[in-house]
Symmetry: C2
Subunit: 87 residues, 2 copies
């Protein structure tokens, strides 16, 4: 399944969350990730994210799209992502 994930976490946890999400998904914009994962891979990512975050303060939103063919992706302006420009 295709995953689009965004997070908004306390600044103390940003670096660890970034490192975790980059292990599983492609980093496309500040706190935004996407990519193809199996159910097992996603379950693992979810478990690790929940272990890292403070549920009262941090937020992760995940859209599971059944297949890449079900959506079109469009970029306006610059295509940031894996340019190391973000923390």
């Amino acid at each position: 399944m295709y995953i689009i994930a965004v997070y908004d976490v306390n600044v103390d946890r940003v670096a660890k969350m970034l490192k975790l999400f980059r292990r599983y998904l492609t980093w496309v914009q500040n706190s935004v990730f996407e990519g193809e994962l199996t159910k097992a891979q996603y379950a693992q990512l979810k478990q690790e994210a929940e272990a890292l975050m403070d549920p009262a303060e941090d937020s992760v939103i995940v859209w599971h799209v059944r297949a890449e063919s079900y959506f079109e992706r469009e970029t306006l302006g610059e295509e940031p992502g894996e340019t190391g420009r973000f923390l």
Copy 2:
């Protein structure tokens, strides 16, 4: 069509982009929006966003999903969004 949109823009333009995107979509997390738009509504949003942003510096990524039934949405931790917590 169902739209998921994220932006990363220069701090000088954040307030205007937020105001623009909130006119068309639901604000679900810092710089993240989603909602159902017609093609005409999306074309209008895109035109206004392109007029506001500096394409060399700012980035908007949009996923057009054919229908809400094609994805599942999941939230880990807090459900921020329209809580006025963000600029």
